[in-house]
Amino acid sequence: KEMTVRDALNSALDEEMSADPTVFVMGEEVGEYQGAYKITKGLLDKYGPERVVDTPITEAGFTGIGVGAAYHGLRPVVEFMTFNFSMQAIDHIINSAAKSNYMSAGQISVPIVFRGPNGAAAGVGAQHSQCYAAWFGSCPGLKVLAPYSSEDARGLLKAAIRDPDPVVFLENELLYGESFPISAEALDSSFSLPIGKAKIEREGKDVTIVAYSKMVGYALQAAERLSKEGISAEVINLRSIRPLDRRAINASVRKTNRLVTVEEGFPQHGVGAEICASVVEESFEYLDAPVERISGADVPMPYAADLERLAVPQVEDIVRAAKRACFRAK
């Protein structure tokens, strides 16, 4: 059976709302418009305007209200039309949500999910293309998830909603329409995936490719091409940016001795840099080649199609980097 990421997210929301009356959805156009990207389609009809709350275009205000509702014990799912707009509300995500349980020594827990599309879409320019994985992933108190497939989307969103801590849930607009095979188990309403655990999407022995979100698909394509050239690549889908599954990454690198990281975000202080640091710290002597980092280009996102293509990783970038890693012994 197949399911799109959009339907996976939509069904996860639906099931969690049906299972727990404290779960509600809030954001711009989530109700009557059925969601800017239709992720919340049908929910207003089913659960009514008290639980599917259309908001004005006031991110700071509604995010603060969401966090306050979580203080009170509800389980808000706050949608950002895209995560670019979360910057208007980032103080509430960091200072009001992530830090409250700590500052109050456990009195004020914040069971909230912030979700929406993150990172580059197609042709939307510099202000609508930023990836926030590294920023949010740096903040203790937050959990940060980034699904790739429909199974990821369902399992992780359900886990996020059930989790007692604030979760930043980074989707990808270009994946919404993609179909993935999905198991019966993953379709069960009790299904959920563990937070903080990466998934080995493809086993291999020559080089480890670590990626998250849309780049997992590119990494799998790269692995396919590499296999034709006799290189066996192991592909790790991070699923969780924070906690980062350092164990899974290091275990794989200890096996393959070579590492390529792939992300769409800006390179400096990115997820790739952290993975590199983690492997250098824990598995230095296993590394047979320099870690290769593939990332978004270090420029604001340009609009023009040719420049945009240069600004985000392509499958051939991953292939090239993996080969560099493999053909070079230390």
Binding site: E32, G123, E292, A304, L307, L310, R320
Partner: protein, 361 residues
């Protein structure tokens, strides 16, 4: 050439201020110019729609048809030393400021001759040399930015003012209230122009605002409600506002207007409003038709001449598109230009940093 006095069809409504006269001075030339420019704008937007559908324009594309009178009326009241800043619905403002069709279409298609050399896209048009500061994609952000430009104008004492345009949806943004308070404290020469087209995406104004009387939303700052479908009313209000803010600090103009298209290209624009509503506005309030009627009623032109103007607008737009299509894609090296004004010769990186790196100029 003889001056004309024309009455706006709807009175201005003032908040904490006496509104200007309904009698607007104009000239046959100005009216003809209004007609021509609005027709051109309308045609540009319709063509953009087609280009989008032909996949020559990517991403977001927010069209302005229906709202042309605001762009045109505002320009008629000010000079290019005055500044304008707006949101993503920026094509026609750019044209109004003197930008060319070729620059507009080339930008929309991501070509080298675009007004932002193809790097900005639909939402990021600029023409700084005639006081157009963009083209901003973050709802509400342009309001403090516009107040800041006005800060610069006051600082340099050059007698110019800034018009900062935002939608009814944006009107609820907190940063607007912050910027307005500061502008009032500092007496900045800024005019907050709320283009109330009654919807922010799919949300009707009253669903997003407890008080959709945007001309009053400044509370302690005066405001004026203006028929935004009437270029002459817009002109009158903007002239009035410019004089006012130079002496007294900020004012809000709420322009009652309408967008015919959906919000952006993915929105059919018909799920949250009725087709009747749209066609009603088209029939009764269309800004181009209003000027056409005026020109005919005052016998300043003929049906045929006006049709010819429309035809030549179509031709002009087609030619511009053809030209824009000839413009090449940006050179790959442009990936690394304009990141900084001064790059200090530092190395910057592409997706594969071992393969693509450049020294920043």
């Amino acid at each position: 050439e003889s001056a004309l006095s024309i009455e706006t069809s709807i009175p201005f409504i003032g908040h904490r201020i006496d509104p200007p006269s309904r009698t607007v001075e104009t000239t046959p030339n100005e009216l003809m110019d209004f007609f021509k420019t609005m027709v051109l704008m309308r045609r540009m937007e319709i063509a953009a729609d087609s280009l989008y559908k032909a996949k020559l324009i990517r991403g977001f594309c927010h069209l302005y048809d229906g709202q042309e009178a605001v762009a045109i009326g505002m320009e008629a009241a000010i000079t290019k030393k005055d500044a304008i800043i707006t949101a993503y619905r920026d094509h026609c403002i750019f044209l109004g400021r003197g930008g060319t069709l070729v620059e507009a279409f080339a930008e929309l298609m991501g070509r080298r001759d675009g007004c932002s050399k193809g790097k900005g896209g639909s939402m990021h048009f600029y023409k700084k040399d005639s006081g157009f500061f963009g083209g901003h994609g973050i709802v509400g952000a342009q309001v403090p930015l516009g107040c800041g430009i006005a800060f610069g104008q006051k600082y340099s004492k050059d007698g110019s003012v800034t018009f900062t345009l935002y939608g009814d949806g944006a009107a609820n943004q907190g940063q607007l209230f912050e910027a307005l308070n500061m502008s009032a404290l500092l007496d900045l020469p800024v005019i907050l122009v709320c283009e109330n087209n009654h919807y922010g995406m799919g949300t009707a104004e009253w669903r997003a605002a407890k008080s959709p009387a945007y001309y009053k939303r400044g509370d302690y700052v005066p405001g004026l409600k203006v028929d935004g479908m009437d270029a002459l009313a817009v002109k009158q209000a903007c002239k009035f506002a410019k004089e006012y803010v130079l002496k007294n600090g900020p004012i809000i103009l709420e322009m009652d207007t309408y967008r015919y298209h959906g919000h952006s290209m993915s929105d059919p624009g018909s799920t949250y409003r009725t087709r009747d509503e749209i066609s009603g506005v088209r029939q009764e309030r269309d800004p181009i038709e209003r000027i056409r009627k005026l020109l005919l009623a005052h016998e300043l032109s003929t049906e045929k001449d006006l049709k010819d103007i429309e035809k030549s607008a179509r031709k002009e737009v087609d030619e511009a598109i053809a030209k824009a299509k000839e413009s090449p894609m940006p050179d790959p090296s442009e990936l690394f230009t304009n990141v900084y004004v001064k790059g200090y010769g530092v190395e910057s990186f592409g997706a594969d940093r071992k393969e693509l790196r450049a020294v920043l100029p």
